[in-house]
């Protein structure tokens, strides 16, 4: 799980990443699981790197909370967060993502993306990305979307003889593939088929 030092888990997980170190965090929430993921990361040494990938698949009445707080405290640190998921049934999902860039933390590059697909009228997804930037020379971007499976893509695949269910699975697989941990592709594909 990376090379960051584990600090003080008072509330959720708190990591500190020192100069030149890289921390990679990966979270997978499978159908049927309700989870509260609360992670705070301090980038405290120059050139520290952070990568967070999270995937959730929910189909019934799961409750998924993902909170990230990424604090760029010093210069030239990079962070990249990619959080993607699919919510069906009456699942209730919320993502809170805060990036703080401290005064003087120039050369910061921070990226945060949260993309969601909802499969039903009753699924609920809230996404709250926040940036607090107190330095001048920074590259920060964040993006959040909540969408549905594309009707055009579905029809295109079906017109080639791919059954509707399989077409949906193909679309969902391609959607989540950037956050599927290596070696777990089969497991995730199987979970998608049950959504």
């Amino acid at each position: 799980m990376g090379h960051g030092r584990y600090i003080d888990p008072i509330c959720g997980s708190h990591y500190k990443v020192a100069a030149g170190e890289t921390l990679q965090l990966t979270y997978v929430v499978l159908p049927g699981e309700s989870r509260d993921i609360d992670v705070a990361v301090d980038l405290t040494g120059e050139g520290a790197n952070l990568e967070i990938k999270a995937l959730y698949l929910s189909r019934a009445d799961e409750k998924v909370r993902i909170r990230t707080l990424v604090h760029h405290r010093v210069k030239n640190c990079h962070s990249r967060q990619l959080i993607k998921g699919i919510a069906g049934g009456s699942a209730d999902v919320r993502f809170d993502g805060v990036i703080v860039v401290a005064p003087g933390a120039d050369g910061t590059e921070a990226l945060q993306e949260n993309h969601n697909i909802i499969l039903s009228e009753t699924a609920k997804v809230e996404t709250l990305p926040q940036l607090e930037i107190y330095a001048d020379d920074v590259k920060c971007s964040h993006g959040a979307t909540v969408g549905r499976l594309g009707e055009e893509e579905l029809f295109y695949m079906r017109s080639r003889g791919i059954p509707e269910k399989e077409a949906k699975v193909l679309q969902m697989l391609s959607f989540v593939s950037p956050v599927v941990p290596e070696g777990r592709e089969e497991e995730i594909a199987a979970a998608l088929r049950k959504l």
Binding site: G150, E151, E152, E153, F155, Y156, M157, R158, S159, R160, G161, I162, P163, E164, E166, L170, Q171, L173, S174, F175, S177
Partner: protein, 244 residues
């Protein structure tokens, strides 16, 4: 093989097809020409089962079956293929994965065993070579970042892989330069057999120089207003659609 009778279709409250009658026999190539907004693309949408289009009256029989009761995938398995006017991008899905899924589903529906990986790749390679496509194409995500010509060629490639009984080419010639047009036309002609039929939908004559139709229909304001032979193409070229 295809019999369309008094077909009426609408999107929402707007009626677009207002009573189409069209019969296509085995091995025939029919051109459907008409100005923009005549209902050409609606006709292809209804024949392939696109959601959002509602058939309000009439019937369509394909190889003895009620086509309108079939799902888009069932129509594909029965041998209908549409070359899309605007092919759709499917990020994250390679052409190989896409065609594999399509062929596997169809063979399953037909009660045939799945092709072995080697057989599939060989078939794919052959079809790509016929259409003068770079083999690396197979690894690319479906239509993502493709030029207009590449998208249309990819449609014809899929058609060659699926070997449809009835091909519907919806404005396949738009956006193609002469070289790409010839390759597409060769692909279409290569599939011509005494059993297979095509509908070529277009608003101009370019593709019809290379793929010669047996019958030409003029579609205007949701109705077929004229049916004839190739002489109609020339009449349209010189005097436009206003004469009908």
């Amino acid at each position: 093989m295809l019999s369309i009778q008094n077909l009426h279709a609408a999107i929402g409250d707007k009626e677009i097809l207002k009573g189409i009658d069209l019969t296509i026999g085995p091995g025939e190539v029919h051109a459907v020409m008409g100005p923009n907004g005549a209902g050409k693309s609606t006709l292809s949408a209804v024949l392939t089962g696109r959601p959002d289009y509602e058939v309000t009256d009439g019937s369509v029989t394909f190889m003895g079956r009620n086509l309108l009761e079939m799902s888009p995938e069932e129509r594909s398995w029965a041998g209908i293929f549409l070359s899309f006017q605007y092919p759709v991008e499917i990020p994250g899905v390679s052409i190989t994965a896409f065609m594999k899924a399509a062929l596997a589903a169809r063979r399953k529906a037909q009660g045939l065993p799945e092709l072995k990986a080697g057989e599939f790749l060989k078939l794919q390679k052959e079809k790509m070579a016929q259409l003068k496509m770079n083999p690396d194409f197979a690894k690319r995500e479906v239509n993502v970042g493709f030029s207009g010509g590449e998208k249309k060629r990819n449609e014809i490639f899929q058609m060659a892989m699926l070997e449809p009984v009835l091909s519907i080419l919806d404005e396949t010639d738009s956006g193609l330069d002469v070289d790409a047009l010839k390759i597409v036309a060769d692909g279409v002609n290569a599939l011509r057999t005494p059993e297979r039929s095509s509908i070529i939908i277009t608003h101009y004559h370019k593709l019809l120089e290379y793929v010669q139709p047996d019958v030409v229909h003029v579609l205007k304001a949701g109705r077929i207003v004229k049916t004839g032979g190739r002489e109609l193409i020339e009449a349209i070229e010189s005097k436009g659609f206003d004469q009908f």
